[in-house]
Amino acid sequence: MKTNSHPTFRYVSVGYSCCGDDFLQTMSSRYDLERLGCVEAPQPQFANLLIIQGTLNAKLITEVNSLYEKMLTPKYIMALGTCSCGGGLFPLSPQHLPPVEVWVTGCPPRPEAIMNGVIALHEKVSGSREKSKSSGMKSGAQP
């Protein structure tokens, strides 16, 4: 029985960067991320989505891993920006990260791209990706 075709994502975010600046703008009234069912969690224990914004260093990755362990299951990761996707100015192999569901590239990614990433994650989680592909919808994020 399919109980939750459009799950709500309660996110916590990690990182400092200009991606955070555009993510803040995504929460404004024009884009309104909450209408896509993506709300901020008060604590990591209540979150099921980890949004990594921008630069990561070696020390921070260990903290990301411990934060990931605290989150609710099932849990997902979205990587925002060139730095977290490919290293950017601070090269760091993404293989050190827990498995990332959605990569949203850009320096910084536009709010539309961030919203596309959330939609792509919705599709991926609810298993409707094939259905949307057949109906002609396009996903802006790279899996």
């Binding site: 916590v12 990690v14 400092y16 600046d21 703008q25 404004s28 020390k59 934060l67």
Partner: protein, 337 residues
């Protein structure tokens, strides 16, 4: 050979951690240098884990689009000064317009975060809406939302597009007309209902970022009075920058927005200093003499200078280490000075 580690920092809270320099010594001579950045990450982690996006971004007030534009301006200013190149007045004017727009974007972000801190979500949405419109105009002018690579040697990459001045003019008038409402919401609703309840909240001190850091040894009211003065500054700055931008738009001179920089440079390495609004920045850059800039290394006097450290220290005496490091000026000029 003896291996020695020198740990620097924490330098400043917006840098991702402290630095470590590993020195290999043969007697008194330095034979190997290994620099590691973000060694402790002491300042990054407490602020980035478990706090909200607003608290983190408040700490990062330096990560504004203005910063990117200022760095471009510094670099191009160094090149133009080295080449004795005179920039067209219109290009200088357009640079100023872009810079003031970025300044205003940063101020609006700060005010939006502050209104969120005061639990005024609707006001935050209003400010972010104004900011988004302005970011759109900046994107129309520079081609990107953060103004990278807009200022180039000899002028700017694009001129003011058709209708941009009018749209910007309209935006400023809209914002100034809306300002009374914003100000009254900040002062009356914020102060008397929510913000006063915020006074005794010790737990929120951590969310105030560098404000609480600056007042950590003071009384409980310290951060709040600091926030109030910052709020006053932000509100008045937004209006003054808006009016200045309006004056700039009304007096843009005619002329070319870009003159080709066509003088041949000999291969050289330059070191120069430029004084900015926020302090002195140093730049080191190299040219090749085949009509194009082969390599430019911009080293602000902060963590970026650490790239130059291995070359500067190699085969030098260990006693000269403090002097060499002092010459590289490992501080963030705009803040720590």
């Amino acid at each position: 050979m003896i291996q020695k580690n020198i740990e620097l920092g924490p330098i400043h809270e917006f840098l991702p951690g402290a630095m470590k320099i590993g020195l290999g010594l043969s007697g008194d001579e330095i034979v190997s240098v290994d620099t590691e950045f973000g060694y402790l990450a002491k300042n990054l982690i407490p602020g980035s884990i478990g706090t909200s996006i607003f608290a983190r971004t408040l700490r990062l007030s330096r990560l504004e689009p203005e910063s990117a534009l200022i760095i471009d301006q510094m670099l191009c200013g160094c090149i133009e000064e080295a080449m004795e190149f005179e920039v067209n007045p219109r290009a200088e004017w357009v640079r100023l317009v872009a810079k003031e727009m970025c300044d205003l974007i940063g101020i609006l972000k700060y005010l939006a975060l502050m209104s969120k801190r005061m639990k005024l979500a609707s006001l935050m949405q209003v400010l972010l809406r104004h900011r988004e419109d302005l970011v759109d105009l900046l994107e129309l002018l520079t081609g990107s939302r953060f103004g990278y690579d807009y200022i180039i040697p000899g002028g700017v990459r694009f001129d003011l597009s058709h209708g941009l001045a009018d749209r910007l003019d309209r935006w400023i008038h809209n914002y100034l007309a809306d300002f009374d409402r914003i100000e009254s919401l900040f002062y009356w609703v914020g102060y008397h209902r929510n913000f006063l309840s915020h006074l005794g909240s010790v737990a929120d001190r951590g969310d105030l970022g560098f404000v609480s850091r600056a007042n950590k040894d003071h009384t409980r009211l310290g951060p709040v009075s600091n926030v109030r003065s910052r709020l006053d500054f932000g509100l008045s700055a937004s209006v003054s920058v808006g009016r200045r931008l309006l004056e700039l738009l009304n007096a843009i001179p005619e002329g070319r927005y870009h003159d080709p920089v066509d003088r041949v440079l000999r291969k050289t390495q330059l070191r120069t200093e430029m004084e900015t609004q926020r302090g002195v920045w140093q730049f080191y850059f190299e040219f090749e003499s085949n009509w194009s800039i082969q390599k430019i290394e911009v080293n602000s006097p902060s963590d970026q200078s650490i790239k130059a450290l291995p070359e500067a220290l190699m085969n030098e005496n260990i006693d000269d280490l403090p002097l060499i490091m002092q010459s590289l000026n490992f501080i963030v000029a705009e803040i720590d000075k």
